[in-house]
């Protein structure tokens, strides 16, 4: 039996080495970097000290950006939930033959560069953009409405990027619901809406929570929408990292901020798994 023990590991080794090389090693680099010192001349000096972390938590400035990141992430989750459930439910109930085409259309934006898609909102929301142009042309407004460079426009950019993830997650879990459950509920006296509340909504929770987690994590780590569509007040933690690493070449401090973000996300994912009990939801579905 001894000989068999290494077999699963041998079979797993390609996948494990990919994960190790592409994920674990870079993260380790970042963690190591976060303890280094940056000399006044700009050179990085290998060291083991917590100065970078101390700097982050020294005053309210950096933590406030972290808090804002969390708030914006939650907002984007909430918006994606509401805006994503509707099309996902429509796909689920639709009996059109073109269902797969419709779902493919959801993926279509991914074929266009994220930067281009984000930039295009400037042409829509900007002072001389589409909306303001027509609002002024039809005399509804005399001055352009300032719709850009605020949290609203950042959220707009985030939603158009993240919505497909949410829709697909919800759709997959809806599609897994046995339609005879709805018929059973209806036959026992539920209206369409009551059956939705009793059956569809609770049984789509796994998709809702998976989609929410994905959207949250992606929002917390994104820097393009706040950079392109946000103002100085809308900076998120990833923008901070970007500026430190690319702008001032301060790798040690940038790495420390990254590790803080990573730690925060790990805590959130762990809590989520523990208290939202995804496993429990899946377990209850196994009977089907």
């Amino acid at each position: 039996m001894q000989s068999k023990r290494w077999k699963p590991w041998a079979l797993l080794s390609p996948a494990l080495s990919a994960v190790f090389l592409l994920l674990v090693v870079p993260v380790c680099f970042i963690v190591v970097y976060s303890f280094w010192l940056r000399s006044p001349t700009g050179a990085d000096i290998a060291a083991f000290q917590f100065g970078n972390y101390a700097k982050f938590f020294a005053d309210y400035f950096y933590p406030s950006i972290l808090l804002r990141t969390i708030r914006v992430s939650l907002e984007s989750v909430a918006l994606c939930l509401v805006l994503g459930y509707i099309p996902a439910y429509f796909f689920y109930r639709s009996e059109t033959r073109f269902k797969s085409v419709l779902i493919l259309l959801i993926m279509l934006p991914f074929w266009i560069s994220f930067i281009i898609r984000t930039m295009s909102w400037i042409n829509i929301l900007g002072d001389t953009g589409l909306i303001n142009h027509y609002l002024i042309k039809f005399g509804i407004l005399s001055e352009p409405l300032g719709m850009l460079y605020n949290e609203g426009s950042v959220l707009m950019g985030l939603i158009q990027y993240l919505l497909p993830f949410m829709i697909l997650n919800i759709y997959v879990s809806l599609e897994g619901i046995d339609k005879s459950l709805l018929e059973a509920a209806r036959s026992m006296g539920c209206t369409e809406w009551q059956a939705f509340k009793e059956v569809t909504l609770p049984l789509s929770l796994p998709g809702l929570s998976a989609g929410s987690l994905l959207v949250f994590v992606l929002t917390a780590g994104t820097y393009l929408p706040p950079m392109i569509l946000g103002g100085p007040k809308n900076e998120m933690i990833a923008n901070l990292i970007f500026k430190r690493v690319i702008g001032t070449l301060d790798w040690p401090f940038g790495s420390a901020i990254s590790v803080v973000l990573l730690g925060l996300l790990l805590i959130i994912v762990w809590t989520y798994n523990r208290y939202l009990g995804i496993n429990q939801i899946f377990k209850s579905l196994q009977g089907e």
């Binding site: 459950l181 018929e183 209806r186 036959s187 026992m188 209206t191």
Partner: protein, 376 residues
């Protein structure tokens, strides 16, 4: 109960259902007596499930009327019809406890807490699964889940119980047990029940009335004995049990029946009360179980039988019975099912085949649709 005789529990009048160009159900007239168990029997795609779904309110009939307890329900939505439905895959709510599953219908009937508790307990006792209130459906076996589904359907005291192939997801032994249980429960409660199945054994064993369907059309309607023993046409006699069909013509009229000459030249005496004209084209129907086989040197089991010699071409032993394929001297193949004796006939053995004239049935030839004469 007082107006029991006035209107049937469920009634369909001239119901059609079309899905685009496909006609799923046509000119369907049905009456279900109060408290009876009616089975819709037919191959898949015959429209039996569509009828159930129309009675449930999950589909609207394209034409015709549906009445439940004398009330026209065409425009009444499903949730106001007071039905109990049982599905092939049980359709228990996986995220709710057994109690919440069974109490579901009561909740939407505004039943008070205490009463709800009592009713659920009683329903679970009726399906012989007391004490499982706190469990989740996934913790129960398939048979148990189907019982919970039963409890959930009967707890609301429905006007009609609709069962869509409720046993087909269960394995053979369990199916038999559940079938008896459904039968007992239905009789105990006296609830009018529609049972949809493609399994003739289920249909024959538990129904008060069987409706045999094919291509959306009712083929025959009657008690299990009637439908089995007097199939009205080729389809029904083929679908229920194993029948042999032989084409032939009426070759002579006798006192107690007719003599039929088959295409292979063999002549059968058929005891049949119908009016038949000489030379009329007919189809001779003989059930595989009605034949008797003997060795060539044995005396026939009873006098005056149709007797032919043949050879066993194939045989499958099934424990309780044996299925033989016998080639007659004329070359015709006959399917025979006999009770297995200790030493069944062997392949290649020469045997003699007997069938009594009263066990031979006749159908008018070339009338697939319906109006064949009863075959005995």
């Amino acid at each position: 109960m007082e107006n029991k005789s006035t209107s049937p529990a469920v009634q369909l009048k001239g119901v059609y259902k079309r899905f685009g160009k496909v006609v799923a159900v046509q000119k369907m007239d049905l009456d279900f007596e109060e408290g009876s168990l009616v089975t819709l029997l037919g191959p898949s795609g015959c429209g039996k499930t569509t009828i159930l779904r129309m009675i449930a309110g999950l589909e609207a009939p394209t034409e015709g009327e549906i009445y439940i307890k004398g009330k026209r329900v065409n425009d009444i939505p499903i949730h106001k019809r007071n039905l109990g439905m049982i599905f092939q895959n049980y359709a228990l709510f996986p995220h709710k406890t057994i109690f919440d599953n069974v109490a579901f219908g009561l909740k939407y009937r505004n039943v008070a807490k205490g009463e709800m508790q009592a009713k659920v307990t009683k329903a679970l006792e009726m399906v012989r699964l007391p004490g499982v209130e706190g469990r989740m459906p996934s913790q129960l076996s398939g048979g148990q889940q189907q019982r919970i589904a039963m409890a959930r359907a009967i707890v609301i005291e429905p006007d009609v119980l609709l069962m869509d192939e409720p046993l087909s997801a269960l394995d053979e032994n369990l199916r038999e047990e559940m079938r008896r249980e459904i039968d007992n429960l239905q009789q105990m409660l006296g609830v009018t029940t529609l049972f949809v199945t493609h399994d003739q054994r289920e249909a024959l064993s538990m129904s008060d009335k069987i409706v045999v369907m094919k291509d959306g059309l009712k083929q025959q309607e009657g008690s299990p004995e009637e439908v089995y023993n007097y199939p009205r046409n080729h389809f029904v006699s083929d679908f229920l049990g194993h029948s042999n069909f032989f084409g032939g013509v009426i070759a002579g009229l006798e006192d107690e029946g007719v003599s039929v000459k088959l295409q292979d030249g063999n002549e059968f005496r058929v005891e049949h009360p119908g009016d038949w004209a000489n030379n009329a084209a007919v189809e001779l129907v003989i059930r595989a179980q009605k034949f008797e086989l003997t060795y060539l040197d044995e005396a026939p089991p009873e006098p005056d039988m149709n007797t032919f010699d043949g050879t066993i071409k194939d045989r499958s032993y099934m424990g309780g019975e044996v299925s033989y394929f016998v080639e007659l001297e004329s070359g015709t193949m006959v399917h025979v099912i006999g009770i297995a004796k200790l030493t069944p006939f062997k392949k290649g053995e020469k045997i003699r085949l007997h069938v009594a004239p009263r066990h031979c049935g006749l159908l008018q030839k070339d009338k697939a649709g319906g109006d064949a004469r009863p075959a005995k």
